[in-house]
């Protein structure tokens, strides 16, 4: 692997509540190589979006980062003063949000918004800025970019709006783009167009992509590596082919067995039993043990991260051996 452009070490983010600090991200480590696509997969409440927001310093009160480092090159974004962070965000690291209607300003035309983002980090004249804005739109596959520049966000379709956000995120050719469920709100055919576009753009500019999603099937065909999150921790990580082809963590196995598109025809889906534990109810043990068919007494203790194969990590006392056929989750989890 090439040298890492982004390293996240021991990241912990919590939310202050009446009952104390709720740990939503609880010791997350990963690194991202130049031009690499890393998928972070998890279900609602797994902490994947809070991880994304923490990386860019976007966590708002009552949430705050309580530990760890986010190293972009050799700069720690967590300890960086506000002004210095602002100078880096949008230039060297940028973000694409799930709903472009929320991230674009509804009362400003597209040209105003792109030129503003451009001039925030570079001294360029208005005429040149406009030309570069049109160029940026053309690169994300928007037809008649000059015309689109004069539109307001509501005049564009959802897919087109997301293309505009991508164009803005790519403006300064950042080292890293963090994308939080960028295609979830889009129709299937438009989603495929956006994925194709992102793939091509990142390959040509060497931008690394952190792709946050709940959709395991997109990750499988799009990312190089994947981290699976559960209850604020990364429970499994590794190259996509390995993790999805031979998962070691029972949760990953359960996720794969739940996706209808990945299921063999005619075979019944094997859902994961039960529901995730609320962050307030977490204890020292493995957070998945209540739903896990392999859980034992040992799972009352937090599992350490181990490496079952080169480039792979798993956090489980009873990992799968990576060869066995999928277990049919008949056993009840340990309460």
């Amino acid at each position: 692997m090439s040298e890492a452009v982004l390293r996240v070490e021991g990241l912990r983010t919590g939310f202050a509540t009446a009952g104390g600090l709720l740990p939503v991200v609880d010791g997350v480590d990963f690194s991202l190589g130049r031009g690499e696509v890393l998928g972070i997969v998890g279900e609602s409440g797994s902490g994947k979006s809070v991880t994304a927001y923490s990386i860019l310093g976007l966590v708002e009160s009552p949430g705050r980062i309580v530990g760890g480092r986010v190293l972009l090159g050799d700069v720690d974004l967590v300890s960086l003063p506000r002004a210095a962070l602002t100078a880096i965000r949008g230039a060297r690291i940028s973000m694409i949000f799930q709903d472009p209607m929320m991230s674009l300003n509804p009362v400003l035309r597209i040209d105003t918004q792109i030129v503003e983002a451009l001039r925030a980090h570079q001294r360029v004249g208005r005429r040149e800025a406009l030309a570069r804005a049109a160029d940026a739109l053309a690169r994300v596959g928007i037809a008649a970019p000059e015309e689109r520049l004069r539109s307001y966000p509501h005049e564009l379709s959802g897919g087109m709006r997301q293309r505009v956000s991508i164009a803005i995120a790519m403006l300064h050719q950042p080292d890293v783009i963090v994308a939080d469920e960028p295609t979830t709100a889009l129709d299937v055919t438009i989603q495929a167009q956006i994925l194709a576009q992102m793939q091509a753009l990142c390959a040509s500019s060497g931008t690394a992509l952190l792709w946050i999603t709940h959709d395991l099937s997109v990750v499988g065909s799009f990312a190089d590596r994947v981290c699976v999150m559960y209850a604020g921790r990364i429970v499994e990580s590794g190259p996509v082919a390995g993790v999805m082809g031979a998962p070691r963590h029972p949760y990953t196995r359960g996720l794969l067995d739940s996706v209808p598109a990945l299921a063999e025809a005619g075979r019944r889906l094997v859902p994961i039993a039960g529901v995730p534990v609320a962050p307030g109810d977490l204890d020292a043990g493995c957070a998945f043990r209540h739903r896990c068919p392999r859980a034992s007494e040992r799972c009352m203790l937090a599992p350490e991260e181990s490496s079952p194969a080169p480039g792979r990590t798993v956090r489980c006392h009873h990992p799968l051996d990576g060869f066995a056929p999928p277990p049919h989750a008949t056993g009840k989890g340990l309460a």
Binding site: S44, A192, D224, A241, V259, A265, P271
Partner: protein, 330 residues
Amino acid sequence: MSAPVLEVRSLDKHFAIRRRGGGWRGRPHAGGATVLRALDGVTLHVDAREIVGIVGESGCGKSTLARIICGLAAPSAGEVLYRGEAVDRFDAAKRLHYTLGVQMVFQNPFAALNPRHRVARIVGEALAAHRLVAASARDSRVIEQLARVGLAADSRHRYPHQFSGGQRQRIGLARALAVSPEVLVCDEVVSALDVSIQAQILNLLLDLRESLGLGSIFISHDLGVIRYLCDRVAVMYLGRIVEEAPAREFFAGPGHPYATGLLAELPTASVGKRRFEPIRGEIPSPIDPPTGCHFHPRCPHATERCRAEQPLLREIAPRHRVACHLHDRR
């Protein structure tokens, strides 16, 4: 052969809308109204024990179709038949039978349940309103419904906010099942759920079909879900059904270029990076759809004829109907 439990024939649904820059505050504009054709000649049926999947993207009319089937909206033309009889000619007694017999489950389980009511009231309300069971038996009937969808009996004393998304969707199902329907109309019922929870609900729907013999219409944008659940598939595009086939045949080889494109986006069990070859272009506005075949601007095989002439649904194999001029050449 007996009539299907539910059928729609040549349904049209038009919405009058004002043009941009039109009249002030809802007043009609001198230019007059424009018509959005949400449904354009839709014909479809459901048999007992059958799950029919409807797949399509935004604006294809799938939710409008669901609302008309349930009697929540009236069609502009065409008819809905319940057990072979047109519902718009029903007397009060038959209409009640139809209203109860076709039940809907909604997409968003957070919006579909009244937050101020306890589950017992949500599930039991229709029973009470239509006096279907004696007041004394209502509680046990509610418990029975909750058990069917895998919820504990004491759930009935709680409020919707005390449940997770998947559990709320179970409550929505229990409410629909309480009046012993024959047809369940499910509009994107699993789209808002996490995959592990989604799989639980899908299996529950399959079990209910087995135990109750329900016919279902299952609307989804997710072809993976449709393949798992459905016996028959209808693909909609901008208000029209462009393909209809038994699920097995459909997934083995769809006949419409749009369906082929949709299916190509379906992830496969094989992993590893792949090149995406998406259907190009945007979904056109249903207010001003393309002439001829609605799909022609995005279709890789479009010809002059596709621009001019609307293709009609024709059988290309037994029970497999496709609306595409390409099949004429054979």
